[in-house]
């Protein structure tokens, strides 16, 4: 028994060279799909992958073009549209109800009540029958590989191969991509032979030929993504030659979508290459030499052929073509037939060419000289390779008849376009958006020109109404999963302690681009450990910069509002970074080192912006400053809590007493044999030592601190505990608690701004704003209820602000929060409601307001 595929449960024999479409057609299948809206029967039409008529489900993949898919033994093929089946489709009644389903009906109906659209959308989607994505099957994202070439040729016909061979022989790195096998969509033996000869010439010239590779689009570069069977190529080419050929023109007349209507190349391909007669009696309407030649070829396959050149008035039939009405010199003639073959001109496949306008993208062959001979195509390819590509020809469109389908993908008829025009959609671009013509899988390859011709021919059209709609990727339909090729959906930054955290049972979360521990088990316990014993927090994510050079102090002084000139080595200061408008961009710590150097710490998320910002000022002021981002190089561990010093003293011979290393001082010390810069800080409101160290030493330092801290009840803590600990101290999280237009006064940070300095970034803006009343301010809140972040704050029935941070605090004895409030009648309200709970404005910090614990 020979090869066979399974089609809806039955066996269909496969001959050598068959496509899925040719095998099915040989087996008697005539209806391949049902149309999107009206469920009209659709059969083979172009046979070159340009139209949507043969989209089937092949081996579980929906929307596969049967005409360009090689048939294989064991393939499982299904039709996807139609209910209960494509052959007997009850939904075809929508074709009888067309007047109730006008163009754009879904934009006009099911609007109220609003929930109806949710239901209607589901029904409409199911009814369209465009196939379902294979649920339950993981997307098999292909790898993406970048390739650099001097010349990329898209299209493996005569022109493309000639161009590639010519450029390859001249020494260029050339790649040629062809969406099928070379010559697979050509019926003419002479053309096939020429393609084979040119392929040999190109290969000998070093050209890399990739079959079954589809160019998706042309982006700036030119950059061309190409989808292959196993990978997606990201091709950066110095030049691109689009030798994508042409499809025969789509004619619009009543019955133009009936099964049995073919483009002549498709009919000849089916008859000559695949040995399957498209019908018994064919009317060939040809206005081209090629059409007449292919008619003769068709005749040689045993089809009775009647050749005409008159316009087609209509095709008749129910389910397939039964007769054709032709305009002849002697009047209209009705001819009985089962096949109508059309060769009325060309529609160049120029989407890539149009995407590459103003780039090094040229056309060759039929895409610029539609209908050209083999010799002309070859010469055109060689000219393009030598930099003498042709301009695209102006192609006449086939005159539109009285009705018929313009867009086969979206079921848009001439009548629909007329109705849309009358409703005021009066250019091809907005007709496209309203009717969705050209927005289906063919992306306008078939219908783009008829749409433009329709708009351009209207008597009341403006000059640009008939312009072709913009060509955008994808030029050919590709599986959605291929769009994901090479995408790294998650790029995570990790500190050197990441694996340790996981070993300790941490639950991690994304904090900006960092992976950080939320908790190691119990947030309340972690808070308690920090408040009563000691806790360890990985703060290696902080931005860390070394600032050196003879102008380092000047840079710091001019950039930041903090006082810098009197900052002696060994001392640190909190700083805010302001932009030119005086708004707070970031905050951090500035530590003065010896030799006029500084160590600057920014927030974890603010490091890249801080570096870019400082470099900008260095350049702008032409300062002699060396800035080194040490964020990746250095790790940092915060050891905080009343027992922190005791633990540290166990691991260091350096003096870390309150006298030697008080709050907001720093020193170079050695902890457990690890050289560290110890910074005394107090973000969590307890004695705190931030130990900055070489990243590679992080795990051993962390282990040593945990071990030494065990007798003192120390434990690691995460962002969950940190959120409450810092809130109890009234410390802000920039970005969470602040808004982009917050200046220091709104945040209660005036104390961090030395307005008496001669100048700093943002000072002029702050001076101007100082004269204005404060319309909004950040306040501490006590809430008689559960903590809820983000809820509005009400004064009476007026919304006056929002809660930005909130937590239940044992140390503060209730629910505390930070939030911003607006002034009401010139004063800030103090009695509020948040989520129905009485809320009172209170001073911050909520915990240890004198700061005695931090300074211990």
């Amino acid at each position: 028994m020979g090869d066979a595929l399974r089609f809806e449960g039955r066996r269909v024999a496969v001959e050598p060279g068959d496509t899925v479409a040719s095998a099915l057609y040989r087996a008697g299948v005539r209806t391949f799909t049902r149309s999107l809206k009206y469920h009209r029967r659709r059969g083979l039409f172009c046979m070159t992958g340009d139209c949507p008529n043969c989209s089937l489900n092949v081996d579980g993949d929906p929307g596969v073009r049967a005409c360009t898919t090689d048939a294989r033994d064991g393939q499982v093929v299904l039709r996807e549209s139609g209910w209960p089946s494509a052959e007997h489709d009850l939904l075809h009644m929508t074709d009888r109800l067309r007047r109730f389903l006008p163009v754009g009906f879904y934009s006009k109906t099911f609007i109220r009540p609003r929930f109806v659209w949710g239901l209607a959308e589901r029904v409409i989607r199911r009814a369209t029958g465009v196939g379902r994505l294979p649920a339950g099957r993981a997307a098999g994202a292909k790898p993406a590989r970048a390739v650099h070439v001097d010349l990329l040729v898209v299209g493996g016909g005569v022109a493309g191969l000639a161009a590639a061979a010519e450029a390859g022989a001249a020494g260029s790195r050339v790649m040629l991509v062809e969406e099928r096998r070379l010559g697979a969509t050509v019926w003419d033996a002479r053309a096939v032979a020429r393609i084979e000869a040119l392929a040999q010439e190109a290969t000998a010239a070093g050209v890399r030929i990739l079959e079954r590779h589809t160019a998706v689009g042309v982006y700036e570069g030119p950059f061309v993504p190409v989808v292959g069977p196993d990978e997606v190529l990201h091709i950066e080419a110095a030049r691109v030659i689009a030798a994508t050929g042409a499809v025969e023109a789509h004619a619009v007349f009543p019955g133009n979508d009936l099964p049995g209507v073919f483009l002549s190349r498709g009919a000849a391909l089916l008859g000559v290459r695949h040995g399957v007669r498209p019908g018994r009696r064919a009317v060939v309407v040809a206005t081209t030499d090629e059409g007449r030649t292919s008619a003769e070829a068709l005749r040689s396959t045993g089809v009775e052929v009647l050749i005409h050149d008159g316009p087609v008035i209509a095709a008749e039939g129910s389910g397939r073509v039964r007769a054709v009405i032709i305009e002849t010199p002697s009047g209209r003639e009705r001819i009985t037939c089962d096949t109508l073959v059309l060769s009325l001109g060309w529609a160049p496949r120029d989407a890539l060419l149009r995407m590459g306008t103003d780039q090094e993208v040229a056309g060759a062959g039929e895409v610029v000289i539609p209908g050209c001979s083999l010799e002309e195509a070859e010469a055109s390819g060689r000219r393009a390779a030598n930099g003498r590509g042709e301009a695209a020809s102006d192609v006449p469109t086939v005159p539109l008849a009285s009705d018929g389908y313009v867009c086969l993908c979206e079921d848009v008829s001439l009548h629909d376009l007329e109705q849309a025009w009358d409703e005021g959609w009066r250019s091809s671009e907005i007709l496209k958006r309203y009717t969705t013509a050209t927005m289906g899988p063919c992306q306008g390859a078939v219908c783009g020109r008829p749409l433009a011709a329709f708009a351009g021919a209207r008597a009341d059209a403006v000059a640009t109404a008939g312009a072709r709609t913009t060509a955008r990727p994808p030029a050919r339909p590709i599986p959605l999963e291929d769009l994901a090729a090479g995408v790294d959906e998650s790029i995570e930054q990790r500190t050197s302690l990441h694996d340790r955290h996981l070993e300790l049972g941490a639950r991690t979360e994304r904090s900006g681009s960092w992976s950080r521990p939320t908790t190691f088990g119990d947030i309340e316990q972690e808070i308690s450990a920090v408040r009563h014993r000691a806790g360890l927090l990985d703060v290696g994510t902080l931005g860390k910069f070394l600032v050196a050079g003879r102008d380092a102090a000047e840079l710091m002084d001019r950039v930041f509002p903090v006082r810098v000139r009197d900052l002696a080595p060994g001392r640190s200061r909190y700083l805010v970074a302001l932009d030119g408008a005086g708004y707070v961009m970031d905050d951090g710590l500035l530590a003065a080192l010896d030799r006029g150097r500084f160590y600057l710490c920014s927030t974890s998320g603010g490091a890249p912006a801080m570096e870019a910002w400082l470099r900008d000022w260095i350049d702008r002021w032409d300062l002699h400053v060396h800035l080194l981002d040490q964020t990746a190089q250095l790790g940092a561990i915060l050891l905080a809590g009343p027992n922190a010093r005791t633990i540290l003293e166990r691991l260091t011979g350096d003096d870390v007493s309150a006298g030697a290393l008080p709050h907001m001082r720093h020193a170079e010390i050695t902890v457990a044999d690890v050289p560290c810069r110890a910074l005394r800080v107090g973000f969590v409101g307890e004695v705190g030592f931030e130990l900055h160290h070489d990243r590679s030493r992080g795990p051993e330092l962390y282990d040593a601190l945990l071990e030494a801290g065990r007798p003192e009840g120390a434990q690691p803590f995460g962002l969950g505990a940190l959120d409450t600990l810092r809130l109890e101290k009234g410390h802000l999280y920039l970005g969470q608690d602040t808004l982009p237009d917050d200046h220091p006064a709104k945040l209660g940070l005036q104390w961090a701004v030395a307005m008496d300095k001669p100048g700093f970034v943002g000072k002029p803006a702050l001076e101007r704003m100082r004269a204005l009343p404060l319309e909004r301010t950040m306040v501490g809140l006590r809430i008689d209820g559960e903590p809820r972040r983000g809820i509005p704050l009400l004064a009476g029935d007026r919304v006056v602000g929002r809660v930005t941070s909130s937590a239940r605090s044992e140390a503060a004895g209730g629910t505390i929060a930070l939030g911003w409030i607006r002034a009401v009648d010139g004063a800030f309200p103090t009695e509020l409601f948040a989520g129905g709970s009485r809320t009172t404005v209170v001073p911050t910090p909520f915990y240890d307001p004198e700061g005695a614990r931090v300074h211990a």
Binding site: P143, I491, T495, G549, H626, Q630, T631, A632, Q633
Partner: protein, 158 residues
Amino acid sequence: MPELTRAPIGVVTASAEAGALDLLLVPGRAFACRVADDELLLLCAPPVTDEVAREVATRLAALDPDALVIDTTDGWVAVSIAGDDARVSFGLLSRLELPVAGFLQGEVVHVPAKVVAGDDGVLILVPSIWQAHLHDRAAKAFGHTGPLEARPWAVPTS
């Protein structure tokens, strides 16, 4: 598929006036990557990193007294791709076009990277915060399973 290995490497960062860096005589044991007008990365074998840093600091001090020379080895992580198809396979990780030999910088596995191309392969350095990302993505691209073996990188002559 190419051979993918970890490449332990010493990195020294030198920040100085552009003119000073232009005149700097790079120690023979190091490969110099000019990452900016005023910044140079010197790649070397880990055991000689201190020596290279000292030598560069001494030489640069004479050219720019404010020059900053720091051992930044911990800030970087490197992998090496070797084998006949190393250069083609690099395309699975980056859209950068490799030179015949030498240094370039840009995106690799979607993070900023330094790349050194040579006859015997390609070295990729990224900030160490992306160590896991680089290893995971490179291993996935090349079908490598298990931990990456460490192999010394042969420092090319600058």
